[in-house]
Symmetry: C2
């Protein structure tokens, strides 16, 4: 961020576009509300020591064979041979405390890989909405909210979360410079916020979400502020930010 | 489009993402409301025989030296040495009748190049909104509304136009299958439609539009249905569709 200009807040709707929005000076918040970043917040909240994001299922299988707790999801389903997918509910409980979790997902881990060039990478979900928004507000760098989307395409649920962050930051900082995408995300969030579940039911990948039979997951992932952890990327792993 | 499924209507927010939305069976509508696709509609409406879109300014200069009418724009400005940029107002009048126009612009011609693999490529702007919407409605193929955006990034003005098309098609066809991006575009259009000029003033690339001093152009480009031409890509040139 140029010291003479205001802080920029940009929403990027696809990992494929990240280089048009962010550079090595940016802070990137990776967003995959359904369900990778909700799962990561949940695992660290329940005491997991770290989450290792891997892009390749074969690498995930190697970890599985070594006895790690591994979540592996493709196309919304648990990959054959794995106990867990990307459902955050799988990481609720004492069984993750002190453990290393390995995670590979269709969109979330790809987005994390795309974000790696940034100055800092943090993880956002409705579960830690207020905490990540407050932290971001106090940074002196440009912020890019990176929506994992669905197979490089725009998706609604990640956009709504980005809009929630825009809304919070804009309420707190009148000098913020917003991209068109940030303005759009905030408008969409304002439209949806009073009943996000129904809004997504009636809009977002309706068939995809229904066919996955993940209503319980979706409801869990839309509850704001159930944790104050901020997951961050450090040396390729995701750990809890010490504050 | 699979004959068993409904017609899909997808909005693509960046030319860089086009392969995630369209294939060789799709119809792509290229949208660069400010100002390339408005200029193209205007030129053909005023009798230009064709518009040759070129990506490279040097190629445009070769045409200029051969005596063609050439529009060349980069970063919102007329490129040095050219008489015209991408202002549609430059193509209003008898001087374009029967002529070939050559056009190179920052975003619009790039979007056209990205769209070339499609079954058919047409050009949309508010100027021909009802006509292109009506034509698209009667096609039996999936439709992708490709927003040229701004340097691969989402922009508001192209999204509003895409939302206007979604709104018209949805009113006419209850079986339409909408992408999340189409739903988002329609919501944004509904929010903006009663006063698009003010909406864009207060949102879209505010500083960019103001600094270009193109208020007259913007007002012209937002007037719906001033022409019934449908520009289409044919053998690399843009010509008026015969209907």
């Amino acid at each position: 961020m140029n010291s003479l200009s205001s802080q920029q807040l940009k929403v990027c709707f696809s990992p494929q576009l990240i280089k048009s929005y962010a550079d090595e000076n940016s802070i990137i918040m990776v967003i995959d509300v359904l369900r990778a970043t909700s799962a990561i917040c949940t695992a660290l909240h329940h005491g997991a020591e770290k989450v290792i994001p891997v892009v390749d299922v074969r690498v995930a299988r190697d970890y599985l064979n070594k006895g790690y707790i591994v979540g592996a999801e493709r196309n919304g389903e648990i990959v054959e041979g794995f106990e867990y997918g990307n459902s955050p509910l799988a990481f609720v409980g004492d069984h993750v405390a002190g453990k290393t979790i390995v995670l590979t997902t269709s969109n979330g881990t790809f987005a994390l890989a795309a974000a790696q060039m940034a100055h800092q990478v943090i993880i956002g979900s409705f579960l830690n909405l207020d905490t990540v928004s407050e932290w971001v507000k106090n940074q002196k760098r440009d912020i890019v909210l990176l929506c994992a989307g669905w197979k490089q395409r725009f998706n609604m649920e990640d956009t709504l979360f980005a809009g929630a962050v825009v809304s919070k930051l804009r309420a707190a900082n009148t000098g913020l410079s917003l991209s068109d995408s940030s303005i759009a995300a905030e408008i969409l969030y304002a439209k949806a916020k009073d009943n996000m579940f129904d809004f997504l039911e009636n809009t977002s990948h309706r068939n995809r979400l229904r066919s996955m039979n993940i209503e319980e997951d979706v409801r869990y992932c839309l509850i704001p502020n159930t944790t104050t952890v901020i997951p961050m990327l450090k040396d390729g792993n995701i750990v809890k930010m010490e504050r």
